[in-house]
């Protein structure tokens, strides 16, 4: 593994008496597409702004290529940012917007025109080079903003929810543009978003933050299948979370008593002790549905509350006798064989190995 490009070393940021970021400790590898995700106010944008030098850490160190960046002024950094609002200069044409950074770096007129036009061409918007920003569409502006940052040929590109202002169909297209660009250029992307679909679709690793702290770092699949704690499990969604007391321990499984019943969980990662409180999750797509009581040791009887269709996938919302909510995700054609309606009783079951014990509360 190559040396980390960016290191956050116990970074803390306070605004007056509000702590936006606490003890942030993580590394970004060169050439990585990393997404920082979390709800509003979790400190993700502050983290990005500290990396760009627009906020100074209250304590701790940020290192880029091993160099401490704390006292490096924003204009001396090579960390262009693509803004949520795009922040294109309205008094400049598309091409002059792209040239701006090069001009500030003292690149000659002919060279910066050539490099700007090369990037506009790469983004497929060369024909709009001389247009006023106000005459461009949302997608075109997005591409100008990307070109303006990429023309600087930075080692790391920062993106702050750049797709949040676009229509849904444009978001999917821009996601493809971004991932292709990142692969092709090999630039490190640091992508801040509140959208799980964007983060999981594009990133190699996802950092999930809450209340100024990192809740979990990992590949999208690991975060989805093995959330570290209740916050991540709930934030990622489409998870069934059950809590109870550990009743019995065998070699590699533990039995947990919950209000919804007794269930077995694997013990490969987290060590459990008898009598201890524990929570575990089962992804909604790993839950099986049956009309009759299944033979599985992990089964719960539920009433169907509602259904939610997203294309060919459907999510069922159910409730057991104790009022605990369950979610099941399956193919619509699979569901249609059951012929269910709201209020019907069904059985849910899952393999013991599908359950994942949360390491912390």
């Amino acid at each position: 593994m190559s040396a980390p490009l960016v290191v956050f070393d116990k970074v803390e940021k306070k605004f007056d008496d509000f702590t936006a970021v606490k003890e942030l400790d993580f590394e970004i590898r060169e050439g990585e597409f990393i997404a920082i995700m979390g709800p509003s106010g979790c400190g993700k944008t502050t983290t990005l702004r500290m990396l760009a030098g627009l906020e100074a850490p209250t304590s701790g160190e940020i290192r880029l290529n091993g160099q401490v960046m704390n006292d490096v002024l924003p204009h001396e950094r090579d960390t262009p940012l693509v803004w949520q609002s795009l922040a294109l200069f309205p008094f400049l044409t598309a091409q002059r917007n792209v040239e701006f950074g090069l001009k500030m770096r003292g690149v000659g007129k002919a060279e910066r025109a050539e490099r700007a036009r090369k990037w506009l061409d790469k983004m497929g918007i060369l024909q709009f080079a001389d247009r006023d920003i106000s005459t461009l569409s949302g997608g075109q502006k997005q591409r100008v903003a990307l070109a303006r940052s990429l023309v600087m040929e930075p080692q790391v590109l920062l993106l702050d929810e750049p797709l949040s202002a676009l229509d849904a169909h444009l978001v999917i297209r821009m996601q493809a543009v971004l991932t292709d660009l990142q692969r092709e250029l090999g630039i490190t992307f640091v992508y801040v978003t509140h959208s799980q679909s964007e983060a999981f679709a594009m990133a190699d690793r996802v950092v999930i933050m809450t209340e100024g702290e990192i809740a979990q770092i990992g590949a999208p699949k690991d975060i989805y299948r093995a959330p570290a704690n209740q916050f991540v499990a709930e934030f990622v969604g489409r998870n069934n979370i059950l809590s109870g007391a550990v009743e019995a321990i065998s070699d590699d499984t533990a039995k947990i008593t919950t209000p919804s019943g007794d269930f077995a969980v694997p013990m490969n990662e987290v060590k459990l002790a008898e009598g201890q409180r524990a929570s575990f999750v089962i992804s909604a797509d790993l839950v099986h549905l049956a009309l009759d009581k299944p033979a599985s040791e992990n089964a719960a009887q539920c009433k169907l509350i509602s259904e939610e269709f997203i294309g060919s996938m459907v999510t069922l919302f159910l409730e057991d006798a104790k009022g605990h909510e369950f979610k099941v995700q399956m193919q619509e054609r699979e569901l249609s064989t059951f012929d269910l309606k709201s209020g019907d009783d069904v059985w849910l079951s899952w393999d013991t190995q599908s359950a994942h014990v949360l390491s912390e509360e």
Binding site: A52, L54, L73, P74, H75, E76, R77, T79, P80, L81, W83, S85, A87, F89, P90, F91, L92, T93, F100, G101, M104, R105, D130, R131, D132, T135, R148, S149, M152
Partner: protein
């Protein structure tokens, strides 16, 4: 052919529009038309008589002192505008970018207070400060300088103009810059722009319209002001407003004063329109 929606005459809408239309006709358009007519009248035995002669125009236009006064007024109003814009900028910049929202609101409120008091009173108070035995010269005297003559000079006139225009210019500049999207300034910094360079690269281009409006206001106020050049400048070189006063006093020459007034209005209209055109000009080459 697409049909234009028919404009129906609405009595209701007209009733509401009427007061302002009548007001403008009676108190603005009427007097201006009368003034234009008056500029063709004749004065016989100190009495104005109706006529249609070009003699007032030809007399005024051929006088050297009129043109001296005209160009002097244009120049000193322009100098006043430049001074006010430059002096106001640091204050407005600090209020727009450094001050908190509440500080800015208070500052704008405090900047309005000068308008509560008579401009004449504020002008007279400068006597105490600027005279030979005034506050400034007394202070300079302690360190062995002066006394300097500041009253009845161009400097005195400019101090008066600043009294008149500076609060307004600071307010207009502050509001203009406070409304700038701060992200754009950060973007410039993010793309390698040095802190001071952001003023030229981003802040001024974004403030163009507001700043031109502030400058136009400043020029109009200075150009038409009578008090500062008369009391603080000592009307050494008469500005056009002083010329109007002198003309009316000497031999009841109201028609010739009207000529001066019309030329002043024409000049201000030209400057205002040119300024607005500049403020909203489309960039060259932009489609």
């Amino acid at each position: 052919m697409p049909q234009k929606p028919a404009r129906k005459f609405s009595l209701y809408a007209m009733t509401w529009r009427l007061p302002i239309i009548v007001w403008q006709l009676v108190f603005f358009v009427g007097p201006v038309l009368f003034m234009i007519a008056m500029s063709f009248f004749l004065v016989k035995n100190y009495r104005m008589t109706e006529a249609f002669e070009f003699v007032n125009w030809s007399k005024m236009m051929s006088r050297g002192y009129f043109w001296d006064s005209y160009w002097y007024t244009c120049l000193i109003a322009a100098v006043s505008t430049v001074c006010a814009m430059l002096l106001a900028f640091p204050a407005a910049f600090a209020l727009a970018f450094r001050a908190s929202d509440s500080t800015r609101r208070w500052a704008i409120f405090l900047l309005i207070i000068p308008f509560f008091t008579s401009y004449l009173v504020r002008t007279f108070s400068w006597f105490v400060i600027l005279s030979e035995s005034g506050v400034v010269n007394a202070m300079l005297g302690y360190i062995g300088l002066g006394p300097f003559t500041m009253l009845n000079t161009n400097f005195g006139t400019l101090v008066g103009y600043m009294t008149l225009t500076l609060p307004l210019v600071v307010i207009l500049q502050t509001i203009t810059m406070a409304n700038i999207d701060k992200t754009l300034v950060e973007t410039a910094r993010n793309l390698g722009c040095k802190p001071l360079a952001t003023i030229w690269q981003v802040i001024l281009p974004l403030s163009k319209t507001g700043f031109i409006v502030a400058a136009i206001f400043c020029f109009i106020l200075s150009f038409g002001d009578f008090v500062a050049p008369f009391y603080l400048g000592g009307s050494q070189e008469p500005t056009l407003p002083i010329l109007i006063l002198d003309t009316t006093k000497s031999g009841q020459q109201w028609p010739r004063a009207a000529v001066v007034a019309i030329i002043m209005m024409g000049t201000l209209f030209t400057i205002a329109f040119a300024g607005i055109a500049l403020a909203y000009r489309k960039r060259k080459g932009a489609k």
